[in-house]
């Protein structure tokens, strides 16, 4: 026997493999994290986003009392519409809603807007609309916030695009800004109106 006390010399290939596997693992994880971070900066990835499952579903059942100066509406009214409607949750206590109003005033010529006053006193919501202008064709009052929960909203403002027949096609949990209109909503509307 000519064994020695030293460890048997490992082949260079095996050594390289032993070093390489953890390095490759770390590299894959690193690339994954880098992509997540760059996505967060560009806005294409948001870990806080709630993926509302109502997309491509019919609107939930609800009936809302009128919110002056508009008339209230129900799920049935949305289902019998023959053109798309943008349903917008707002409240007088919500600063981003106030910021969104000028944008809503500009798009009301492209799409009918129906408003839902979320957890708001009717007189406050009315004062808010008198002050900021009223972009809505119909306005319902969701005083208790129950309808908001059925639509899966987590705050205001949120907007839902409802196509004829009452199917929710698109949703955003952010205030509508001109860039969202140009990149997403208006192209989607053009596509819906073309066929």
């Amino acid at each position: 026997m000519n064994d020695t006390h030293d460890a048997p010399p490992s082949s260079p290939l095996r050594r390289r493999l032993l070093m390489g596997v953890p390095l490759a693992g770390a590299a894959i994880v690193g690339v994954g994290f880098a992509r997540m971070l760059s996505g967060m900066q560009k806005g294409s990835f948001d870990p806080h986003k709630i993926n509302t499952p109502v997309i491509n579903r019919p609107v939930p059942d609800f009936t809302l009392a009128a919110q002056p100066p508009g008339t209230g509406f129900s799920a049935q009214d949305l289902r019998t519409m023959t053109k798309p409607v943008l349903v917008n949750f707002f409240a007088s206590w919500c600063i981003p809603c106030l910021a969104e109003m000028p944008v809503l005033m500009t798009i009301k010529k492209d799409i009918e807007l129906w408003g839902i006053a979320y957890k708001d006193r009717p007189e406050n919501a009315e004062g808010f609309l008198r002050h900021s202008g009223n972009p809505y064709t119909r306005i319902g009052s969701d005083r208790e916030g129950r309808t908001g929960i059925d639509w899966g909203i987590s705050g205001v403002p949120e907007s839902f695009l409802v196509t004829p027949g009452g199917i929710i096609r698109w949703h955003t949990a952010t205030p509508l800004a001109p860039d969202i209109l140009q990149t997403t909503l208006l192209p989607l509307l053009a596509k819906l109106n073309s066929p």
Binding site: H5, I50, T52, V54, R146, D150, W151
Partner: protein, 165 residues
């Protein structure tokens, strides 16, 4: 007499101080149920509602359960949970009701799906890797422990010389 009075005063201060501490510390011990009227009268049903609520994410605070959060939406969702519990719905039915509105994101523990396979599998996988490494290292060490080779003639002669005395 004077000495006794000051001792009494000191004692009084201690008691007041202890009372203040208790009052300050109490809110930290209870859940965020802002208003006792929110709670169900039946303690058994209330405990069930709390158990369900603690598994549901507050969508405003996101890292708190709806039982821990005092956001308005969390309060509304707590009320929904309690209404459904009082109606006699099962835990699964209530969680399903929430998931159908807010998606799996509302569950603080995500269910095992293809997308969460790596998340759930990571801990057992890491444990398995550790076992494999430990096993490999151990088996190699056993292989290294070999019997020493017998002495050569030269070494035998030297040993004999050293042990001659």
């Amino acid at each position: 007499m004077r000495h006794m009075l000051s001792a009494l005063k000191r004692r009084l201060i201690t008691v007041v101080f202890a009372a203040v501490i208790v009052v300050i510390a109490t809110p930290a011990l209870v859940l965020a149920v802002d208003d006792p009227s929110e709670m169900l009268p039946d303690p058994k049903l209330e405990a069930r509602a709390e158990h369900i609520g603690s598994q549901l994410r507050c969508l405003v605070c996101q890292n708190e359960s709806i039982e821990d959060s005092s956001a308005g939406l969390a309060r509304d969702l707590r009320r929904v949970v309690r209404e459904h519990v009082a109606q006699g719905q099962s835990d699964g039915q209530i969680i399903e009701w929430m998931v159908s509105r807010y998606g799996n994101f509302i569950r603080l523990a995500p269910p095992l799906t293809l997308a969460t396979l790596l998340l759930w599998g990571m801990a057992p996988l890491a444990l398995l890797c550790g076992f494999v490494i430990a096993f490999v290292v151990r088996s190699r060490r056993v292989k290294i422990q070999v019997t020493p080779s017998p002495l050569t003639e030269e070494e035998k002669a030297r040993l004999a010389e050293l042990t001659k005395d």
